[in-house]
Subunit: 304 residues, 2 copies
């Protein structure tokens, strides 16, 4: 078990391998040349923009932590990234967060227009479920577990999860007051739900025991919240070049964030505390869960 600096440094090759595997499957799933090159180009523009593939890595790492097969969970890892990318493309739209820059590049609607950006998001979201069904029919034997994992993904992404979080986030802009509970609820839904689902899906497909799944869920919830707090901190303290987007956007849009609510110092302390709690939740796991421990450390030490 290794949770120190060496572990943190060792994270990169592990994340890199996840990125390679996921990108390879996504690349094959979305042909470069087709009847309508322009639309595929627009889809690939956002999907292959250099994302960290954090959610896929969490999903793959969880399956491996419980001794499951990487091949069986790979379609879900890809689906998580498709869902995550769709949410970024739609959130960046003028009618939502109105962002011009993402991962150092102009956002989808800036390049292809709003109508196409909406359709790109729709296509990515639909592709997530289609890819899971297609690949699982080809490879998976446990179709019931696949349906359970689809249910996890849909619940986390939809109107009780991410979409609701984005709606509440929009509603809260410009509001005069906010308490910690309210902000935590927005974060838990907007980013936390999909990160939690990444871990739970990895567990379900890896055939985790109920106790393992409970511990993994706790890990996922704490990592998700820590990750979002650090996102808020980076919007204040981050380097625009490393982040690939403009900072101070939350303040500009009068968004409620952890640092705004509790101060920068306590926000960083909370993130560190959550990261440590996440690692504690893995106490009953052996070295197979080390990549999950590294990711928890990375979540609060990252620069982008």
């Amino acid at each position: 078990m290794n949770t120190g600096l060496a572990g943190h440094v060792a994270l990169h090759p592990y994340l890199k391998q996840g990125q390679i595997d996921v990108d390879q499957m996504l690349d094959a799933y979305l042909p470069k040349e087709d009847k309508e090159p322009l639309f595929y180009e627009a889809i690939r523009y956002s999907l292959f923009a250099g994302g960290k593939r954090l959610r896929p890595s969490l999903c793959l790492a969880t399956t491996e932590a419980v001794g499951g097969k990487r091949d069986a969970v790979l379609p879900f890892a890809c689906a998580l990234e498709l869902v995550h990318t769709y949410s970024l493309v739609h959130d960046d739209l003028p009618a939502m967060d109105n962002d011009a820059l993402r991962r150092g590049k102009p956002t989808s609607h800036k390049v292809y227009g709003e109508g196409t950006a909406i359709l790109v998001g729709d296509a990515l979201l639909t592709a997530a479920f289609t890819l899971i069904a297609q690949k699982s029919l080809q490879t998976a034997s446990n179709h019931k577990a696949v349906l359970e994992a689809i249910f996890e993904l849909g619940s986390a992404a939809g109107l009780d999860g991410m979409v609701w979080g984005q709606f509440m986030d929009m509603q809260s802009e410009g509001k005069k007051t906010m308490n910690e509970q309210g902000l935590e609820s927005i974060h838990k839904h907007k980013t936390g739900a999909l990160i939690r689902a990444s871990v739970r899906i990895g567990g379900i497909i890896g055939q985790a025991t109920p106790t393992q799944l409970t511990n993994l869920t706790a890990y996922g919830e704490q990592v998700g919240l820590a990750f979002q707090i650090v996102d808020d901190i980076l919007d204040i303290m981050g380097d625009e070049k490393e982040l690939g987007k403009k900072i101070a956007q939350d303040q500009l849009k009068e968004k409620w964030t952890y640092p705004r609510l509790v101060g920068l110092k306590k926000a960083q302390e909370d993130a560190n505390r959550l990261s440590a709690l996440a690692i504690n939740a893995l106490d009953s796991f052996g070295v197979s869960a080390d990549p999950l421990r590294w990711i928890a450390a990375y979540a609060v030490n990252r620069k982008n």
Copy 2:
């Protein structure tokens, strides 16, 4: 077997029963009161706006035509309507078709704003897959068939189906030329794919034989194209009150339509021919397929 006027008149109770069953499941799935009433209200506003529930009826009728269980396919019937409604909400957006009226009511973005309308569509699309997974885990025994049907739904809705059709439709606006093949391709993707999938999913869940599925697919393709041609005709000849939307919108937006390409008379003849072909494709089916025959007749005789 009854394909005459009596059959056509008898359609309405059949469609009505499908509408009742589907609406009941959707109503239970989307609670009226929840942590965020406004968002659920926006979702229900579009979903319960008095749609004909054509796709659910096709799906239910197909399962019953092959002797399958209505209960097992009902979640898919609901999912098809969720997908259809999401596509209407997004297509109506200012960045897409920019429509102000739908089913006699102001469109979602006119009532709730563009940001919320985008999220409503996202939530409906996600709910389609989530509902299938949830209900099928509770009731269905054949999880492999459920995954096959999810694949059908996703393929028909996504970047090789409906989303691509909408993209091509947007691209074709204002174009100087168009041939019948190009227009048919847009129609086949934009509306045809989901109607075809409604029938195929009904067949798959109803455990149709391969030969039955081939015939049902032919039926679905022909009904889908006939349905779209009549949509184009109603945009010229229809009654705004009965339609619940403004007519002559295609002309205003310089959209390519069947009547524009081949004239009104040939367009109506083509629709009638396709409806007859669809009914012919059901030759090997007995009376259990009568509702499908009625729907094929209704597709070309409807007023809205």
